[in-house]
Amino acid sequence: MKTAMQQPAPPECRQACDRMQDYLDQTLPKRESLAVFLHVRECGACRVQLETLQALYARLGEMPPIEAPADFDARILAAVPYENYRAMAPLRSPRVPVLLEQESLPAWLRSRSVRLVGLFAAAAALTAAASGVAAGTAAWTVAGVGCLPELSVRLQNLTRRVYVATVHRSIPR
């Protein structure tokens, strides 16, 4: 491939040359692309320039892939500090006010079994009230107390999410 590149004098040649890379990248608008195509068909110098560029594109795309050395992965995997990374996990989680930390609620309140039992008791009390077996006020009290663990946990989660999405994100780090 000849690498000689002479700047053509006529303005239409200069314009075609300016657009040639976009033409080959196929990023020119249709009309401009057609103009380059038609000009190159008629102009020998620009055709040579286009062929030169085309060959360069092709060659650049043919650069052979390079493979990493055989021991490459092993050296990196040995150097990555996984243990430290895992140990630092709590520090990476977003910081929220103490009241929004899960640990601020008593462990028994957060326990899945207490929450399930509470919900079950609430459902039973409401069913009894609806069927007339239990007094209305007592049933509503049991239902309220029964739902309390689940509601506390969910309310805390929701508030924490809102806090992280709004206040925490706006804190410069």
């Binding site: 360069l56 060659r59 650049l60 992965d73």
Partner: protein
């Protein structure tokens, strides 16, 4: 070229501390990152060190990875910045004409511009390709990296703009300028490809 969703899943697993996920990410990007580092520096030893530092940096910065961007763009950004910093720091060292190594770590002569074709240093690659690689290697770092990202890594202009944190127009202008420089260098050295 790189599966963005699959990368994201692996990144999330890495963030949970899963070693296997990081090993998989490493497997996906090892050749691309090593290849970029090698073509930026033309020294196997430097390329290996740089690529390893890139992966360790990636691991340590995983928490800062913004999932709205592709992981590939992020890792290429870290790699390109790292290579360019390295070339800046070692500018004087690269003026030396000896001590270059091939991708396999074997010593390799730095081809001089007025050298004729050297059949003894052409192994599997064609002479033309060798000359083109030589010219690309001699480009200034900011032009070299953009040519490698476009033609070697096959990234789109848009992806390159994200990787280099440049406006799309600047990326296009720089790629056009880099190609023109390659043409001029080939011409100046009377190389035909």
């Amino acid at each position: 070229m790189f599966d963005r969703n699959e990368d994201l899943k692996l990144v999330r697993r890495c963030k949970r501390g899963e070693e296997a996920a990081f090993a998989e990410l490493l497997g996906r990007y090892r050749n691309a990152i090593y290849g970029l580092c090698f073509r930026m520096t033309r020294r196997a030893e430097d390329a290996r060190d740089l690529a390893q530092e890139v992966f360790i940096k990636v691991f340590s910065l995983l928490d800062r990875f913004d999932e709205t961007y592709a992981f590939s763009s992020w890792i290429f950004r870290i790699a390109t910045n790292h290579c360019i910093d390295h070339l800046r720091r070692n500018r004087m060292r690269f003026l030396s004409l000896d001590g270059f190594t091939g991708p396999d770590g074997e010593p390799m002569d730095l081809p001089l511009p007025d050298d004729g074709p050297g059949p003894d240093r052409l192994l599997e690659r064609s002479e033309a390709m060798e000359r083109l690689e030589e010219v690309v290697a001699d480009l200034p770092p900011h032009y070299k990296v953009i040519i490698l990202l476009r033609h070697d890594q096959d990234l789109s202009y848009e992806d390159i703009a994200v990787v280099l944190d440049l406006p799309l127009g600047t990326v296009k202008a720089r790629i056009h300028r880099a190609r023109a420089m390659i043409q001029q260098m080939l011409q100046a050295r009377s190389y035909e490809i």
